[in-house]
C-alpha cells in the first residue's frame, strides 16, 4: 500500500487532487463523437475514481448524455477510448456491476412497480432484495401500482430503484431529478448521498449548478462537447468573481457585450442582466450613453450566473 502511495505521489507532484490515489473505475479518454454534422463530444476526457460523486454539468445539448451513453456502451466512438471497470463497456461482465438511470420518455405502463423491480433484479447475478430496493428508492405504498398510474416524480423514483436493482458499484444517473418537484428532488439528493456514503461511485448529469454543488465531490463543466473546467464545487464557484448588473436600458445587447469586462448579457423580461468582472466601468459607460436608464441593481453573481458565464464565454472563463 505504502509503496503505491509513494509512486503515485512522485508521479503526480503537480496534480493536487486529493482522490488521486483512488482506483480509476471508468474513463473516457479524448473521445470525439459526431452525429452527422454536429459534434456531440470534442476531444473529451473524463475519469471517475472509486467512491467519488462526479457531476457532469452543462446546458441542454452540451454532450452530457452522450458521455453517459458512451460509458454504458450504448454507443461507440470512432476516436478515443472508453473503459469501464477495466473493460469495454459493451462487455456483459462489466454491466453486471453497473446501474443506470436514463431519460426514458415512457416505461411499459402495464406492469406493477414490484414486477418491474423483480424483472430487473433477474438481470443481475447478485441483486438487492426487492424490499431493499423499495426501501432505498422510497417506493413503499406504490409497489403494487401499475407504472402508468404513477406521477412524474414517482416514475423517476422507480427508475432510480431500477438502477439499484443489481447492487451496482458504479451508478450513472442521467438528469435524475428532471421533472421532480422540490421535495422529491431533495429526497433523491439524500438517496444519492447515501449511495456515496456506501462507497458507490456515482456519475450524475445535471443542468442545475445547485444540484451539482449539493452532491458532487467534483464538478466537470461541459458545453458544446468540450470540457470547460473541472474542480471541487468551491473551485467552480470561484471561477467567476464577477457581479450582476440589472437595469432597464435602451442600449442593445450586442453593444453591451462589447463593454469592458462583460462576460454575459441576458434579456430578462423588460430588463437586461449583465455579468461583468468590473461592474463600475460598465455602469459608468451605460449611464453616459443612456439617460433613460433606470431600475439599476448591482449584486453578487448567483450560482446560475456563474454557470452561465462559464458556458457562454469559455475563453474568458478559462483564463
Amino acid at each position: 500500500m505504502s509503496a503505491t502511495a509513494v509512486v503515485t505521489e512522485a508521479g503526480t507532484r503537480a496534480w493536487p487532487v486529493p482522490l488521486s490515489q483512488s482506483r480509476t473505475v471508468a474513463k473516457l479518454h479524448s473521445v470525439t463523437k459526431r452525429y452527422g454534422q454536429t459534434t456531440a463530444l470534442d476531444d473529451f476526457s473524463l475519469e471517475l475514481r472509486a467512491g467519488e460523486v462526479v457531476a457532469l454539468l452543462g446546458p441542454n445539448g452540451a454532450g452530457k448524455t452522450t458521455a453517459v451513453r458512451l460509458l454504458l456502451g450504448l454507443i461507440s466512438a470512432k476516436q478515443g477510448s472508453v473503459r469501464v471497470l477495466g473493460r469495454d463497456p459493451r462487455d456483459a461482465d462489466a454491466r453486471t456491476r453497473i446501474g443506470a438511470m436514463l431519460q426514458v420518455s415512457r416505461v411499459p405502463e402495464m406492469l406493477r412497480v414490484r414486477e418491474h423491480i423483480d424483472l430487473f433484479r433477474s438481470y443481475y447475478p447478485d441483486p438487492l432484495p426487492v424490499a431493499e430496493v423499495i426501501r432505498i428508492a422510497r417506493l413503499e405504498g406504490i409497489a403494487e401500482q401499475m407504472f402508468g398510474k404513477l406521477s412524474g416524480g414517482q416514475k423517476q423514483r422507480v427508475l432510480f430503484g431500477l438502477a439499484l436493482c443489481g447492487n451496482p458499484d458504479l451508478i450513472f444517473l442521467d438528469e435524475p431529478t428532471v421533472g421532480m418537484d422540490i421535495e422529491s428532488r431533495r429526497a433523491l439528493w439524500d438517496q444519492i448521498r447515501s449511495l456515496s456514503a456506501a462507497g458507490k461511485t456515482v456519475l450524475l448529469t445535471t443542468h442545475y449548478l445547485e444540484e451539482a454543488d449539493m452532491l458532487a465531490n467534483r464538478i466537470v463543466v461541459i458545453n458544446k462537447g468540450r470540457l470547460l473546467c473541472e474542480g471541487t464545487p468551491a473551485e467552480i464557484k470561484h471561477r467567476v468573481s464577477g457581479r450582476r448588473i440589472r437595469c432597464i436600458t435602451q442600449l442593445d445587447a450586442e453593444f453591451l457585450a462589447t463593454l469592458p469586462s462583460v462576460v454575459d448579457v441576458q434579456q430578462d423580461r423588460e430588463a437586461v442582466v449583465i455579468l461583468a468582472e468590473q461592474p463600475e466601468k460598465v455602469v459608468r459607460e451605460m449611464l453616459l450613453r443612456d439617460e433613460t436608464l433606470h431600475g439599476l441593481e448591482v449584486s453578487a453573481a448567483a450560482l446560475e450566473d456563474a454557470f452561465l458565464a462559464l458556458t457562454s464565454e469559455p475563453g474568458q472563463a478559462k483564463a
Binding site: A100, R106, P108
Partner: protein, 262 residues
C-alpha cells in the same frame, strides 16, 4: 469453496440458472404486459374472434365455417407478430426503454425470445378460441389431430412474421407504426385467402398471391382441412423459410448499420 461466498465479489462465470431465470422472467412479464395492454390484446384476439362470430355462425355447417377457422388462425398469428413485435420494439426503442434494458446485462437474445414466445402464445390462444367457436357455433367437426396440426402450423408461422415484425420495427417510425402495419397486413391478409379462398379473388390478384408469405402460411393451415390449392406443401414451407431468412437478413443489415453509426 465455502470461502468464496464471503470473499470480495470477483467477476464470476454466469451460470446457466442465471440465464434461465432471465429468459423465464422476461417472457413471463412480456406476456403479462401484452395481456394487460388492452389496445393490443383486445384487437389481436378480438378481431379474428369477432369476425368468426359473424361469418362462422352465419355459415353454420357449411364449408366456410370450417374454412375460416384455420384462415382466421393465420390472421391471428400474423397480426400478433406484426403488432406485438413490430410495434412493441419500435415503441420501446423510441421511448428509450430499450436503451435502459441494453445498459443492463440482459442478453439481447432474451428480449427477442421473450417477445417471440409471447406473440406465439397469443396466437395459440386465438387458435384455441377459434377451434372452440368452430366446434360450437360453426358446427365444425374436427379431430384432435387436426387441431394440434393447426396449432403447430400457427406456431411455425410465428417465426417468419416475428422476423417481419423485427424489420418493421427497425424501418418504420413508431408514430406511423399502426398505420403502416395495417397497410401491410390488411391487403396481404385479403389477398392471401384469409377471408375467402384464393380462387374467389379477382384474377389479377391471384397472380401476385404466391409472392405473399401470408398465402403460403394460409395454404399450410388450410391443407390440414383439405382446402389447400393442389400441389406439394413442401414449396410453402420453403417459401416461409426463405422469407424468414430474407427478413432476418435485412433486419440484421439495418441493425448493424445503425449500430456502426451509433
Amino acid at each position: 469453496m465455502a470461502t468464496n461466498g464471503i470473499a470480495i465479489p470477483v467477476p464470476r462465470a454466469l451460470s446457466l440458472g442465471y440465464y434461465a431465470r432471465i429468459f423465464r422472467k422476461e417472457t413471463q412479464y412480456e406476456f403479462v404486459r401484452m395481456l394487460r395492454t388492452r389496445a393490443f390484446s383486445l384487437s389481436v384476439v378480438g378481431f379474428p374472434v369477432m369476425f368468426y362470430l359473424l361469418f362462422g355462425s352465419s355459415n353454420r355447417h357449411n364449408m366456410f365455417a370450417r374454412y375460416l377457422m384455420p384462415s382466421y388462425s393465420c390472421m391471428g398469428v400474423v397480426s400478433a407478430c406484426l403488432f406485438g413485435i413490430g410495434m412493441g420494439i419500435a415503441l420501446e426503442r423510441a421511448q428509450g426503454w430499450l436503451d435502459l434494458k441494453q445498459a443492463s446485462p440482459m442478453p439481447r437474445f432474451a428480449y427477442l425470445t421473450a417477445k417471440t414466445i409471447s406473440c406465439a402464445a397469443f396466437a395459440l390462444v386465438i387458435v384455441a378460441i377459434l377451434v372452440a367457436l368452430g366446434v360450437t357455433i360453426g358446427g365444425v367437426t374436427l379431430t384432435a389431430g387436426e387441431a394440434l396440426k393447426l396449432a403447430g402450423v400457427v406456431l411455425a408461422g410465428s417465426l417468419p412474421f416475428t422476423a417481419m415484425g423485427l424489420l418493421v420495427a427497425l424501418l418504420v417510425p413508431p408514430n406511423a407504426g399502426p398505420g403502416v402495419i395495417n397497410l401491410i397486413y390488411l391487403p396481404m391478409s385479403f389477398a392471401s385467402g384469409f377471408w375467402m379462398p384464393v380462387d374467389y379473388l379477382p384474377h389479377w390478384l391471384q397472380v401476385i398471391t404466391p409472392a405473399l408469405p401470408t398465402y403460403h402460411l394460409a395454404q399450410l393451415a388450410l391443407h390440414i382441412f383439405g382446402y389447400a390449392q393442389p400441389g406439394s406443401m413442401l414449396i410453402h414451407w420453403e417459401a416461409l423459410a426463405g422469407f424468414t431468412l430474407l427478413m432476418l437478413g435485412a433486419a440484421w443489415i439495418i441493425f448493424t448499420r445503425s449500430e456502426a453509426k451509433a
